[in-house]
C-alpha cells in the first residue's frame, strides 16, 4: 500500500504542469480556443513530441505502455491548467478499446504520433448512459459489414478522423450480448458528423450512420465487457483531471480572498469565507482520495473496478461542482467574467460530470453492482 508517485511519475506530472503553465496560461487558452481546431492541432503536435500521446498506448501497439498511474499524472496537469485537448478520449479510451486488435494497430501508432484523432461513440437517443442499450445495427452482407443508426453524443468527436461505435449485431436493444465495436472513417460514405461546442471548449459530435462500411474490432458480439473496462479507464483519467482543476480553482480562490480588500480588510479574514474555503479544500482532498481509489482499482475484477470507478465518479463530481461553484461565489462579480480562469474551472467540472455519465448514473451503477 502506497500513495506516492514514483520519481518518474512525479517528473511526468511536473512536466505536464509546467507545459500547461507555459502554453495554456489563462489568456493564451482563450486565444487557442477562439482560433479553432487548427490552433489546437499545433498544441496537440507539441504534446505528441513530448511523447505523452503514446504514453497510455500499450507497448505491443507501439506505445509506451504507461499504466493508470502514469495517466493520472498526466491528467492532473491537464486539469490544473485546463488544457483543452481530447487526450482522454483519443489517447486513453480509444487505445483501451482497440488494444491488441489487428485492425487498430496502425491507427494506434498514428494516434501516438499525433497524426490522427479518434473518438468513441456509444450513446444513443434513449440509451441514457447505459453502454448496453444499443439500437444502432450492423448487417454482415455480401459487401461486408454495414452499420446504420445514430449516436447522439460522441465525446470530443467534432474533429475526429475515426469513430469507434458500438453496434448491435444480435439480440434485443438492451441485451448485454450481441454488441460489437466497429471502426468507421469520418470520410466514409453514409457518415454524417454534426459538430458542437460545449461550454468548456471541448468539441463533440452527433453521428448519423447510413449503411456505412465498417470494420469490426474484436468479437462482434462480445464487445461490451471491453467497452465497460475502457470507459472506466477514461473516467479514472478524468477524475484526475477534475482533481487538478479543483485544486487550481481552490488555489486561485485562496489567493484572491487573501488579497481582495473589502470593508478595509482582506475578505479572507471573514470567518464565514474561511470556513467555506476549508470546505473547498476538504472536498479537494476527498476527491483526490477517490481519484486514487478509482485508479488503483482499475486492474481488479470487473465488479470491483466498476464500483470503485463509479464511487469515484460520484464523489469527485460532487466535489468538483461544489469547488467550482464556491470558487466563483467567493470571487464575487469577477468570478463570472470570462477573463478570470475560475469560472472556466466550474464549466469544466460541470461537463466532466456529464462525460461518461453523471452522478446519478454512477450512484445507481454502484448500487446495482454487487460488492
Amino acid at each position: 500500500m502506497d500513495f506516492v508517485y514514483s520519481d518518474e511519475q512525479q517528473m511526468l506530472r511536473d512536466s505536464v504542469v509546467r507545459y500547461g503553465a507555459e502554453k495554456w496560461a489563462a489568456s493564451d487558452r482563450l486565444k487557442i480556443l477562439a482560433a479553432g481546431p487548427d490552433a489546437a492541432k499545433r498544441r496537440w503536435a507539441e504534446m505528441a513530441e513530448l511523447g505523452w500521446l503514446m504514453l497510455p498506448i500499450a507497448e505491443a501497439d507501439g506505445g509506451l505502455g504507461g499504466g493508470p498511474v502514469e495517466v493520472m499524472a498526466v491528467m492532473e496537469g491537464i486539469g490544473r491548467h485546463l488544457i483543452t485537448v481530447p487526450f482522454t478520449t483519443c489517447c486513453v479510451l480509444v487505445p483501451a478499446l482497440i488494444a491488441g486488435s489487428d485492425a487498430g494497430g496502425e491507427l494506434l501508432e498514428r494516434i501516438g504520433l499525433g497524426e490522427t484523432l479518434a473518438a468513441a461513440g456509444f450513446l444513443e437517443a434513449d440509451s441514457g448512459y447505459d453502454l448496453h442499450r444499443v439500437a444502432t445495427r450492423a448487417e454482415n452482407g455480401a459487401d461486408g459489414w454495414r452499420v446504420s443508426g445514430a449516436k447522439v453524443h460522441v465525446e470530443d468527436g467534432a474533429d475526429a478522423d475515426w469513430f469507434l461505435v458500438s453496434v448491435r449485431t444480435a439480440g434485443g436493444t438492451d441485451e448485454r450480448d450481441g454488441i460489437g465495436l466497429f471502426l468507421i472513417p469520418r470520410e466514409g460514405e453514409g457518415v454524417t458528423v454534426e459538430p458542437f461546442r460545449a461550454i468548456d471548449g471541448h468539441r463533440h459530435a452527433r453521428l448519423k450512420l447510413d449503411r456505412v462500411a465498417a470494420v469490426p474490432i474484436g468479437d462482434a458480439e462480445r464487445a461490451l465487457p471491453g467497452m465497460e473496462a475502457a470507459v472506466d479507464r477514461a473516467i479514472a483519467a478524468q477524475l484526475a483531471e477534475a482533481v487538478g482543476s479543483m485544486e487550481a480553482a481552490s488555489d486561485a480562490t485562496l489567493d484572491y480572498i487573501r488579497t481582495r480588500q473589502q470593508f478595509g480588510v482582506a475578505i479572507g479574514s471573514f470567518q464565514a469565507l474561511q470556513h467555506r474555503m476549508v470546505d473547498m479544500v476538504v472536498a479537494g482532498e476527498e476527491a483526490r482520495s477517490m481519484a486514487y481509489h478509482a485508479t488503483l482499482n482499475l486492474n481488479r475484477d470487473a465488479s470491483e473496478r466498476a464500483r470503485a470507478v463509479s464511487a469515484g465518479k460520484v464523489r469527485v463530481s460532487e466535489s468538483g461542482i461544489y469547488v467550482g461553484q464556491q470558487a466563483v461565489q467567493l470571487h464575487g462579480g469577477v468570478g463570472i467574467s470570462e477573463e478570470l480562469i475560475v469560472s472556466h474551472h466550474l464549466r469544466r467540472q460541470m461537463m466532466l460530470n456529464l462525460a461518461f455519465g453523471p452522478i446519478e448514473h454512477h450512484r445507481s451503477r454502484f448500487a446495482l453492482t454487487p460488492a
Binding site: 450513446l123 437517443a125 434513449d126 440509451s127 441514457g128 448512459y129 447505459d130 442499450r133 447522439v152 453524443h153 465525446e155 467534432a158 436493444t173 438492451d174 454534426e194 459538430p195 458542437f196 461546442r197 460545449a198 461550454i199 471541448h202 468539441r203 463533440h204 452527433r206 480588500q261 473589502q262 470593508f263 471573514f270 464565514a272 469565507l273 461553484q325 466563483v328 461565489q329 464575487g332 462579480g333 468570478g335 463570472i336 467574467s337 470570462e338 477573463e339 469560472s343 472556466h344 466550474l346 464549466r347 460541470m350 461537463m351 456529464l354 462525460a355 453523471p358 446519478e360 445507481s364
Partner: protein
C-alpha cells in the same frame, strides 16, 4: 387566515389570464423559463404592450402612470405572467430609478423621465459597483466635481448591466470627501450619449452579453440631473438595494416556469422506454424542487400580505432573495441533468439542430451563479439578517 381571492380579484385574474393567453410569442418561452432575460427589443415590445393596457407599472401609484394595484393584484398579475411564460418586466427603470424619481425627483424630472420609463422609450442602467466597491459600496471612488452649472464625473463603474443598450445611467458618485465613507455621495442621472462615457463589454461565463464596465472621463452633467439633495445619495441608494431585493421576491413568482421547463425536458427524454420523469430518482428530485418552490412562493405571498397591511416584513425580503437565488441555481441544474448528454451541445458548429431547450437551460444554469452575488451577495444577506433581525 385563508388563501382565497375575493370576487373582484377573481375577475381581475380572469382578465389578466385572457391577456396572456394571446400575447406571449412561443419563442420567448424556453428562454424565460431558464431565468434568462429576453433581448432588449423583445422586452421593450412587451413593456409597450403592457403600457398600452395601462399595466406598464404594476407597483407604481396611479398618479405617475402606474396601476395602483393592491399587492394581491400584483401577485395575481405576476402569477399569471409566470403561468403564461411571459417574461418579468425589465426592472432597472421600472423598479429601481423610477420609484426614486417619483419619490425624490423634481416635477421637471418626473415629467421628463417617468413616461419614457413606462413605455421603455428610455432604457436605464445602474452605475453603482466599482472595481474596488462591490459588496462594500461605500468604498466607491467615482467623483462628481462641481463646475458651475455642471458636475464633472470621473471614475469607473463595474457590472453596469445593459449599459450597451441603455439611454441613461444613474450613478452614485462622490460630491465631497467626508469622514464617514457613506456621506458625500450623490445620485446623478446621465444621458448615455454624453461625451466622456465609454462602455466596455465584460464577457461572462454564460456567453450572453449583459454587463459592462463604464468609464467616466470628464463627463459633464447639468446640475439639474442631481436627484434629491447633494450628498444624500447613499440613503437613496440603499432604498434601491432594498427594492432590488423585493424585485427578487416578485421574480421568485416566476420559478414555476422553471418547474415547467424541467418537466418538459424530463418528459421528452427517455431511458430505454421509460420517460426520465417517471424514474423514481428523477421524480423525487423534481418533487423536492417543486416543494421548495412552493415554500418560497408562500413566503412571497406572506410578504405581499404584509405589504397589504402596511406591516413590516423584517428580514424576510433578504430571506426571499437568498432562497430565490438558491432555487434558480438548483432548478437550472436539474434541468441540465434532464437534458442528459445533449447538454454538452451548447452551440452547433454547423447547422445541426439543438435540443429545444438548448442552450437556454445551460445558459440559465451558468447565469444563475451570479444571482447569489448581485444585489447583495448571499454572504451579505446573511450579515444583514444577523445584524438587523437577530441583533448579532
Amino acid at each position: 387566515m385563508n388563501l382565497d381571492f375575493d370576487a373582484a380579484d377573481d375577475a381581475f385574474r380572469d382578465e389578466v389570464r385572457a391577456f396572456f393567453a394571446t400575447d406571449v410569442p412561443d419563442r420567448w418561452k424556453t428562454k424565460v423559463r431558464a431565468g434568462l432575460r429576453l433581448e432588449p427589443d423583445d422586452l421593450a415590445q412587451y413593456q409597450r404592450r403592457l403600457n398600452d393596457c395601462g399595466w406598464g407599472a404594476p407597483t407604481w401609484p396611479k398618479e405617475y402612470g402606474g396601476t395602483g394595484w393592491t399587492p394581491t393584484q400584483q401577485y395575481i398579475f405576476w402569477s399569471e405572467a409566470a403561468r403564461a411564460d411571459a417574461p418579468a418586466q425589465f426592472h432597472q427603470g421600472l423598479e429601481l430609478i423610477g420609484p426614486i424619481i417619483f419619490t425624490y425627483g423634481t416635477p421637471e424630472q418626473k415629467a421628463q423621465y417617468l413616461p419614457r420609463i413606462l413605455n421603455l422609450q428610455d432604457w436605464w442602467c445602474q452605475g453603482y459597483s466599482e472595481p474596488g466597491a462591490g459588496s462594500d459600496l461605500a468604498a466607491l471612488r467615482t467623483r462628481a466635481d462641481r463646475d458651475g452649472d455642471h458636475y464633472v464625473l470621473n471614475g469607473q463603474k463595474m457590472w453596469t448591466s445593459y449599459a450597451h443598450v441603455a439611454d441613461h445611467v444613474f450613478v452614485l458618485a462622490r460630491t465631497s470627501q467626508e469622514e464617514r465613507r457613506q456621506q458625500g455621495i450623490s445620485l446623478i442621472l446621465i444621458d448615455m450619449k454624453t461625451p466622456g462615457l465609454r462602455v466596455q463589454k465584460i464577457p461572462t461565463m454564460d456567453e450572453k452579453y449583459h454587463t459592462n464596465e463604464l468609464f467616466l472621463d470628464d463627463v459633464r452633467v447639468p446640475v439639474g440631473n442631481l436627484i434629491g439633495e447633494e450628498g444624500k445619495g447613499w440613503a437613496y441608494g440603499k432604498v434601491l438595494l432594498d427594492r432590488e431585493r423585493m424585485v427578487s421576491a416578485s421574480t421568485a413568482i416566476f420559478l414555476t416556469q422553471t418547474v415547467r421547463g424541467i418537466r418538459e425536458a424530463a418528459t421528452r427524454r427517455r431511458i430505454g422506454t421509460t420517460p426520465l420523469i417517471e424514474t423514481p430518482g428523477f421524480a423525487a428530485k423534481l418533487a423536492q424542487y417543486e416543494i421548495e418552490v412552493i415554500a418560497l412562493q408562500t413566503m412571497v405571498l406572506r410578504l405581499m400580505d404584509d405589504a397589504s397591511r402596511g406591516a413590516d416584513s423584517g428580514p424576510r425580503g433578504s430571506m426571499v432573495k437568498l432562497r430565490w437565488s438558491q432555487l434558480t441555481q438548483a432548478g437550472t441544474a436539474l434541468w441540465v441533468e434532464a437534458l442528459g448528454p445533449e447538454a454538452a451541445h451548447f452551440a452547433a458548429l454547423g447547422d445541426a439542430s439543438l435540443a429545444d431547450d438548448m442552450p437556454y437551460a445551460l445558459q440559465g444554469a451558468l447565469y444563475s451563479r451570479v444571482t447569489s452575488i448581485y444585489g447583495g451577495s448571499s454572504e451579505i444577506q446573511h450579515n444583514i439578517i444577523a445584524r438587523r433581525a437577530l441583533g448579532l
